[in-house]
C-alpha cells in the first residue's frame, strides 16, 4: 500500500495494492490518525484491490465516521468489485460511500 501526502492540496492519498490486510493495519491507522489530526483530506484509491479484510475495512469505516464528524473530506476512488463486495459483506457500503450490492 502506498501512502502519499500531497501537501499543496492538503490531501493524503492512500493507494491500495492487490492485497490489503491486517498486516498493514497499524501503519494505515497511524497515517490516517495523522491525517485526522492535521485535518487533511483523504483519498483512498482502491481500484487494484483483489482482497481486503475486515481489519482494514474497519479502519476505513472508523476514519470515514471520524472525518464526517470533523467535516473532513474522505473518498474512495475507483473501488474494485472485490473491494465493494467485501465492504458490502460487512455492511459498510453506506458508511464508506459505496454503492449497495445484493449479496
Amino acid at each position: 500500500m502506498e501512502i502519499t501526502a500531497e501537501s499543496p492540496h492538503k490531501t493524503l492519498i492512500v493507494t491500495c495494492e492487490e492485497i490489503v490486510d491486517i498486516q498493514l493495519a497499524t501503519e494505515l491507522h497511524g497515517q490516517l490518525k495523522s491525517a485526522l489530526t492535521q485535518g487533511l483530506r483523504v483519498e483512498i484509491v482502491a481500484s487494484r484491490v483483489e482482497r481486503i479484510d475486515a481489519a482494514i475495512l474497519q479502519i476505513f469505516y472508523a476514519y470515514f465516521r471520524a472525518a464526517h464528524e470533523r467535516a473532513l473530506e474522505a473518498t474512495i476512488k475507483g473501488a474494485s468489485e472485490n473491494f465493494i463486495r467485501a465492504a458490502a459483506l460487512l455492511g459498510l457500503s453506506k458508511g464508506l460511500g459505496l454503492a449497495e450490492v445484493v449479496l
Partner: protein
C-alpha cells in the same frame, strides 16, 4: 508434509478427562436460578475444547455429541435459557457419556450406545425447548428415542430466514479469522443481508488497529440446516458470541448422531467431514490416510494407569536448579582432586558433604515429579455423594480438605478404589436417613468429611462421618456366629470395631448395590497393606465413624530395617515390623514335631528361619543366639530369625523381576552404600511361604547375588 496426529492423542485424552472433571465439578456447584457466569463459562470452555480436539482428531461421534452439550451451554451462557435442575442432570449425564465415549475410543472398547442415544435425545429435546422433568429411566429413554421431539442441529434443512447475531471478541482478527471470508461463505448458502452495529467502535484516535469493534446481525434466507451455518463459524467458536435463530421452532426430525455413528476410531478426512474447516483459516491437522473408520483399534498409547504425567514447571525448574548445583559441586571436587594433598582434607570433606546434600535434594526433587495432588482422587466424590445420597434419599454434605496434598502417582491410582469403597460405605451404612437423624436429635443433613495431610513420611487420609457409627453388638454377634470370636471371649471395643475388616463380615441389614455384600472391607485393608499402608477405624455408636489411612508417599523408596543373615543383608520394611526380641529357648515349641512356634505373650507365632528359607549359610542356627524380628503381613504375625540387626535406612526399590526373576518371599532389591545388593523381604509372601516350608524350587545358586552394584 503429513503430520502424525496420533502422537497427540495421549495429550488430548488427558486434557479431555481433566476438562470433564472440571465440567462435573462446576455443574455440581451450579446454583440453580443464580448460576455463576464464570462456572458456566468454565463448563462451556471445557466442552468446546473437547469438541474441537475430537473433531481435529477425527473422533466424529465424540465431537457431534459434545457439540450438543456445547450448544446447550452456549444458550445458557448467552442468557437465552436459565439454568434448571433438569438441564444440570442432563449435562451431568452427558459428562458420563463423553467420558465413556472417550474411554471407548482410547481403549478400542464398546460403548453403551443406548445410553449415548438416550442422553443425546434429551439434549436435543432440551435444545428444542422440550420440557424434561427428570433424567429418564431406561424405559423412558426407550420411549423418548422412539418419539423424539425436535432436533435443531441435525440434517433438518429448513427453508426460511435464519437470524444470526455475530459479536466477535476483540482479538478475533488476530487469530487469522476474517469476517469478510466467513460472511462470503454464508452468502454462498443463500441470500444474505448484513447490518453492522458500530456502537462499540471507539473514536478513531483511540482504536487499536487490529482489534475488532464491530458487531453484525445477519439474515440468511436459505434452505439449509443449522449445522451448515454453524460450520461457517466453526473456527471462531470461543472467539465470539454467536446466536443462530432457527426460522422454525420444530423442524422435521432426524436420527440423533449417536444413533447413526458408533464411537469411532479416527477416520480419514474427506471433503465431506463436517468439521473440516471451510474457511481455510487455521491449518488443519485432520488425520490423513491410514486412519480408517473401520479400524476400531485403541488409539490411546496405553491404559490410564500407565499414561504420562504432567509436571508443573516449578518442579522442573527446581530439578534443573539442583542439577546445576550438582555440577558445581562436581567441578569443585574435580578441581580439588587435581592437586590434592592432606592439607586440603577439610575442603574435601566439605565438598563431600555438599555432594551428599545435593544428591539428597536431587532425589527429593526427582521424587516430587511423580507426586500429584490427591484432588485427582477426591474430585470423583462430590458427584458420587450427590448421586448416591439422592438414590438412598439421604441428605449428605461432603466436606473436603487437603485436596492439594501430594502423593506418588502409582499410590494414587491404587488408593482410588479403596477410598471409593469407604465413602460408599459411609453413605450407605454410616449416615442415617434424615428422619432417623432428626429423631436422634441430629441435624437433618449428615456430613462426610474427607481430609488428606502429610504426617512424617506418610500421607494420612481420613474419611469421617457423623452417622450412626458401627453397631458393635451386631458385629460381635456376627463374629461369634462366624467363629471369629469365641463365645466366652470379651474383646475390647477397638478389637470389635476392627473385626469389620474380617472377610465376609457385613452387618448391612439390606444388601444393596451400593455396599453391604460382605465383601469389601477386607479387600480394602488388603489393598492398603499392599501399598505398604495401614488403616484404622474409630467409631462411637450414634456419633459416627472415622477411617484413617496411612500410606507411604511413594512406592519407589522404602523405610527399611537392615538385618544380617550369614553374610547376606536383607531389608525388612519398617511398616511390617512389630518388634524385635531375643529368643528364650523355653518359649519355643514345635508343632507336630515340625513347625517351630514362639510364644509371644498370649499368642503363638511361627518362626521363619531366613537362612533356611533362602539357602544362606548362617552364623547362628540356635535361636537363642540370634534375634527374632516379629513382623505382620496380611494380619498374620510371624517371627523372622536373623543373625543381627544392622540399622534402619531409606532404600530405593529396584525390581528384582525386571533385573533377575521373581523370587517368592522377595519383593525387590536395593543397592547399599557399599555396593552390595540387598534383598527386600515380602513379609506377606514369607508368611505364606512358611506354611509350605521353603520357597519353590530354589537352591543356593538361585540366590547367588552379585556382590557389587556394577555386577
Amino acid at each position: 508434509m503429513t503430520v502424525d496426529v496420533t502422537q497427540f492423542f495421549q495429550a488430548f485424552f488427558e486434557e479431555s478427562f481433566e476438562g470433564l472433571a472440571a465440567m462435573e465439578s462446576a455443574l455440581l456447584n451450579l446454583d440453580i436460578g443464580a448460576a455463576d457466569s464464570e462456572a458456566i463459562n468454565r463448563i462451556f470452555r471445557a466442552a468446546h475444547s473437547i469438541k474441537g480436539g475430537a473433531a481435529t482428531f477425527g473422533f466424529t461421534a465424540v465431537a457431534e455429541f459434545t457439540h450438543l452439550v456445547e450448544t446447550l451451554m452456549d444458550q445458557i451462557r448467552s442468557g437465552q435459557r436459565a439454568v434448571t435442575q433438569p438441564d444440570v442432570e442432563i449435562l451431568l449425564h452427558s459428562v458420563d457419556c463423553m467420558h465413556a465415549m472417550l474411554d471407548a475410543v482410547r481403549d478400542g472398547s464398546a460403548v453403551n450406545q443406548e445410553q449415548i442415544a438416550a442422553v443425546s435425545q434429551e439434549l436435543q429435546a432440551s435444545l428444542a425447548g422440550g420440557a424434561i422433568a427428570s433424567v429418564a429411566t431406561p424405559a423412558a429413554q426407550q420411549s423418548s428415542m422412539s418419539a423424539p421431539k425436535a432436533i435443531p442441529n441435525e440434517k433438518a434443512a429448513t427453508n426460511g430466514l435464519w437470524k444470526i447475531n455475530f459479536v466477535p471478541l476483540s482479538h478475533l482478527l488476530k487469530t487469522g479469522n476474517d469476517p469478510v471470508r466467513m460472511f462470503r461463505e454464508l452468502s454462498g448458502l443463500g441470500a444474505l443481508r448484513v447490518a453492522v452495529n458500530d456502537k462499540n467502535l471507539p473514536p478513531f484516535l483511540d482504536m487499536v488497529p487490529d482489534n475488532v469493534y464491530l458487531e453484525w446481525e445477519l439474515v440468511l434466507e436459505a434452505n439449509v440446516d443449522e449445522k451448515a451455518i454453524s460450520e461457517v463459524f466453526e473456527w471462531v467458536d470461543g472467539d465470539c458470541e454467536l446466536t443462530i435463530q432457527s426460522p422454525q421452532p420444530t423442524p422435521e426430525i432426524s436420527a440423533p448422531p449417536a444413533q447413526k455413528a458408533a464411537v469411532q476410531a479416527p477416520k480419514a478426512a474427506t471433503p465431506t467431514t463436517p468439521q473440516a474447516p471451510k474457511t481455510g483459516a487455521p491449518a488443519s491437522t485432520h488425520p490423513k490416510s491410514g486412519m480408517k473408520e473401520a479400524d476400531k483399534k485403541p488409539v490411546g498409547a496405553s491404559s490410564a494407569e500407565t499414561s504420562s504425567i504432567r509436571v508443573s514447571i516449578d518442579k522442573i525448574d527446581a530439578l534443573v536448579n539442583m542439577v546445576g548445583e550438582l555440577v558445581i559441586t562436581q567441578s569443585m571436587l574435580g578441581q580439588l582432586g587435581k592437586d590434592f594433598d592432606m592439607s586440603r582434607i577439610d575442603k574435601l570433606l566439605d565438598g563431600l558433604t555438599q555432594l551428599e546434600r545435593n544428591t539428597r535434594e536431587l532425589q527429593e526433587n526427582v521424587m516430587r515429579i511423580r507426586m500429584l495432588p490427591i484432588s485427582f482422587v477426591f474430585s470423583r466424590f462430590p458427584r458420587m455423594v450427590r448421586d448416591l445420597s439422592q438414590k438412598l434419599d439421604k441428605k449428605i454434605d461432603l466436606k473436603m480438605s487437603g485436596d492439594q496434598t501430594e502423593l506418588d502417582k502409582t499410590v494414587m491410582e491404587k488408593i482410588g478404589d479403596p477410598l471409593v469403597h469407604l465413602v460408599r460405605n459411609s453413605i450407605d451404612h454410616g449416615v442415617e436417613t434424615h428422619d432417623k437423624r432428626v429423631a436422634a436429635g441430629k441435624p437433618e443433613t449428615g456430613v462426610i468429611q474427607l481430609d488428606a495431610y502429610h504426617q512424617g513420611g506418610n500421607i494420612v487420609i481420613s474419611i469421617a462421618d457423623d452417622g450412626a457409627g458401627i453397631d458393635t453388638e451386631r458385629v460381635l454377634a456376627k463374629a461369634r456366629k462366624a467363629g471369629l470370636v469365641k463365645e466366652d471371649e470379651t474383646p475390647t471395643h477397638e478389637r470389635i470395631v476392627d473385626l469389620i475388616f474380617e472377610p465376609g463380615l457385613s452387618t448391612a441389614e439390606v444388601v444393596s448395590d451400593v455396599s453391604g455384600r460382605g465383601v469389601g472391607m477386607d479387600v480394602v485393608r488388603r489393598n492398603i497393606q499392599e501399598l505398604g499402608g495401614t488403616i484404622d477405624v474409630r467409631s462411637v455408636r450414634g456419633e459416627g465413624s472415622s477411617f484413617t489411612i496411612r500410606l507411604p508417599l511413594t512406592l519407589a523408596i522404602l523405610d527399611g530395617q537392615l538385618v544380617r543373615v550369614g553374610d547376606q543383608t536383607f531389608i525388612v520394611p519398617l511398616v511390617s515390623i512389630v518388634e524385635s526380641l531375643q529368643v528364650k529357648k523355653e518359649l519355643v515349641n514345635r508343632v507336630a514335631g515340625k513347625a517351630e512356634v514362639f510364644k509371644l505373650r498370649d499368642d503363638y507365632i511361627p518362626i521363619i528361619r531366613l537362612y533356611d528359607m533362602f539357602g544362606v549359610h548362617p552364623e547362628n542356627t540356635l535361636l537363642e543366639e540370634g534375634l527374632l524380628v516379629v513382623v505382620e503381613g496380611d494380619g498374620v504375625r510371624a517371627g523372622l530369625f536373623v543373625d543381627d540387626l544392622l540399622g534402619q535406612q531409606q532404600v530405593v526399590i529396584k525390581s528384582l523381576e525386571t533385573n533377575y526373576r521373581r523370587v517368592d518371599g522377595i519383593s525387590g532389591a536395593t543397592i547399599l552404600g557399599d555396593g552390595h545388593v540387598a534383598l527386600i523381604l515380602d513379609v506377606s509372601g514369607l508368611v505364606k511361604l512358611s506354611k509350605n516350608q521353603g520357597p519353590t524350587p530354589q537352591n543356593d545358586s538361585d540366590l547367588a547375588l552379585p556382590r557389587s552394584a556394577a555386577a
